[in-house]
Point group: C2
Chain length 457, copies 2
């Protein structure tokens, strides 16, 4: 008997699930995917690079268009917004945004992949024109049109120094804007320890971005109440600007799911099981930026909206919907970014996270190089290792360096995944040759020093 899968949300998680389920079940499964915007399967993580000009066209960010999905037998309906879910009746109410018409569509299986929404802090004047979030391709287009347009002012303030904030600050700088980034915390990149975040800040300042830390935004000033932005009033005075970009992160877009009676976690995300099913809701699945994930280090639910998780989770859901078996076992909090040629990477828990969990930790930071010191092109590299004092378990690693530094986080991520002790990490058999690493790999040195400090202290 043919079943129908309805997918809400046409980006990474939703379309991965749709594609994988369709691939496995073929004609046995009807798949309808509703997308509020106009694009499907695009790289939201790539938007800052498109805005910055490294990626030339929006199309390059699209992995698969609606037409390509349709060729694979998926009934993709763009500009269709699901406005209600009825889990009893097993229907969704859908609004066709182009035609202005509403419909009710039944489902057997429901995939919720509604993604995330930029956080908009409750600041006076932040509603209204000249304020941009960066989440969808349409958001990206709006910013790009604005900053590459003529005569509209060349000053921008980025509110928040997380990944998106930092990437957007660089992107706008590349487009010739005067950019100020305002961050309430003592350092940018609050996913890093402050000492590591400060290295990022130095690099941003060297690029020419005006970075103001420990600075809170009090209000956005406008020419008239609804008029153009003239400045941002902060705890550090008024910063004149023509536009504001939100970089304070995103939150799960889960109102629809909540209204349907599905439970949410502390981060307002859905809480799927290992197979990406929503417990207690037969035939309902969720994946991507609208769900929380288990952090394998803390054992707690956390919110890590990243394309790489969305793709994996979507595929897991699709495999299970398709009659196969797959699990998403959780994350260890690996993340990367770049400021110009500075590579920034982290995995596991940062010091403050570990302490919040009641772990007593030690840390060691080493300065080393990406290649043998004598080899041409060796670049400086800073590695910070965080270990639990009582057990020696590696709980987190942060790496900052130039070219060829960032992906070194992966070995640390696998070590954290396994709860290795720093003593054992120091013994790992990592790749060595003079063009690629010093004979003592920087990660091994940091782990060894952490292991030694556990004995010595």
């Amino acid at each position: 008997m043919t079943e129908r899968l309805v997918v809400i949300g046409g980006d990474a998680a939703g379309m991965s699930a749709a594609s994988q389920a369709k691939r496995l079940r073929g004609d046995d499964l009807e798949v309808i995917a509703f997308e509020r915007g106009t694009a499907t399967s695009y790289s939201a993580c790539g938007i800052p690079y498109w805005i910055g000009g490294q990626v030339e066209t929006m199309d390059e960010l699209v992995t698969r268009t609606p037409a390509e999905h349709r060729k694979n037998g998926i009934d993709v309906r763009v500009r269709h917004e699901v406005v209600a879910i009825d889990l009893e009746a097993r229907t969704v109410d859908v609004r066709d945004l182009s035609a202005g018409r509403s419909d009710q569509v039944g489902f057997d299986q429901l995939m919720i992949a509604t993604g995330a929404t930029p956080v908009r802090p409750p600041i006076e004047g932040l509603g209204g024109q000249d304020v941009y979030g960066v989440q969808t391709l349409d958001d990206g287009r709006a910013v790009l049109d604005r900053i590459t347009g003529r005569g509209k002012g060349r000053r921008a303030v980025v509110v928040g120094g997380g990944y998106i904030g930092v990437e957007m600050a660089e992107a706008m700088l590349r487009r010739g804007l005067e950019v100020t980034l305002v961050e309430a915390a003592p350092a940018v990149m609050s996913t890093l320890d402050p000492d590591m975040g400060r290295l990022v800040q130095v690099a941003m300042t060297e690029l020419g971005i005006d970075v103001r830390v420990e600075t809170t935004v009090e209000s956005v000033e406008r020419a008239t109440r609804e008029g153009a932005i003239t400045g941002v009033r902060t705890s550090d005075g008024v910063i004149g600007t023509d536009l504001v970009v939100l970089g304070v992160g995103v939150r799960p877009n889960t109102e629809l799911a909540e209204q349907a009676g599905l439970g949410l976690g502390d981060h307002h995300g859905l809480l799927p099981d290992l197979r990406m099913r929503i417990p207690g809701a037969e035939g309902v699945w969720a994946a991507g930026d609208c769900v929380e994930v288990i952090n394998k280090v803390s054992g707690r639910w956390s919110y890590v909206p990243l394309g790489t998780h969305a793709n994996k989770q979507g595929r897991v859901a699709g495999t299970n919907i398709g009659g196969g078996y797959a699990i998403f076992p959780g994350v260890v909090g690996t993340a990367m970014s770049a400021v110009c040629d500075l590579e920034i990477a982290r995995t596991g828990l940062r010091t403050a996270e570990a302490e919040t969990l009641g772990l007593e930790v030690v840390s060691q930071t080493v300065e080393s190089t990406t290649r043998a010191g004598y080899f041409p092109g060796a670049q400086p590299l800073t590695v910070k290792v965080i270990a639990e004092r009582s057990t020696g378990r590696l709980v987190g690693v942060q790496i900052i360096g130039r070219e060829d530094a960032g992906k070194r986080i992966d070995a640390a991520a696998v070590a954290v995944w396994h709860g290795m002790t720093v003593a054992e990490v120091a013994s790992l058999d990592l790749g060595y040759a003079p063009p690629f690493a010093p004979v003592w790999d920087p990660l091994l040195i940091a782990a060894r020093k952490a292991a030694e400090s556990l004995i010595r202290d």
Copy 2:
């Protein structure tokens, strides 16, 4: 009571042990280190890059000179060759090569770090002038003097396509020589599967190196019996040349230990325990290229002469000699090299090694990119994953690609270290951002395909 540690061999393993033991025990330990050559603590792995000109001077390869070691309280005696060990009397016989005088020196602890010797295949004419091994700085100096000298011929044949052979071929090419590499196997880099080795071979050929595989050397031809080399006779005809470089690998330099009655393994290396002690020989330690190591994947002794292991093992021995506790838990066979900008990396077992152990394996090779496909500078990358069919356990990974490809082996090395299944590897939380990886990391894709093939086949 003051003890005396005698160290035989002044490179990585010996001097790491000496330094660490001295650091821990101070005046309580007298340390005498004998080195046959003139240098201590140098990077043998860096020699091809010095010969090739990327590293300008020999001094850059030296981490610590004899004088620097002496400042740290270690009595280093260069140009001193230990010619006999008496384990009963607890003495070594030492020949001062400069003075032409012999001495007997007593020890309480003995560290054997005699390194390796280039393998010299039993080929007619290979003994004598114009044939070079590359193991010590003195070897490197000899090659460099020869190839940068004038009027001595500009043609070289490298016998053997292992790491050293491949690196030396490139180094001599950089110096303007006409280089032919002769390899008996069907592909160069026999530490890789032949399909991956062939990618290396293509890159070498493109550089302008004449690579002859499935070709055996029959004899070396000389103008007169003891005279200059004129050519190398191979199964593929005579190759005219002015010099021959040995690239068929090295073997443990263990004659001295063997004569002292210490047991050797199948690869003619010493067999230390986890703490780098020689079982059955009280107070005798060994580390570096003269020992075999346990491969954690096969559970067997193997021979992996690499500077990174020598340093770690030496430090472990030194910690234990110094009254601390440390172990060297074995290796997983991680190794890296480069041909020009092509990065070559491997870990675990290659297919033939696995099959020799009686494992039935499946493998999957994927072509991907170092960055998101749309991101500028994305480079091709080939990843091969080898898994045990019956358990799904990851047993080996090989990576070949341009810039920023090689060190990706580290995540695989940690996964192999833990005996992860390919299904779990496919779920790993590796670093993602468009400048650093596609949203599906190449390693994860290869692991996923391997996992799928285990179910499908």
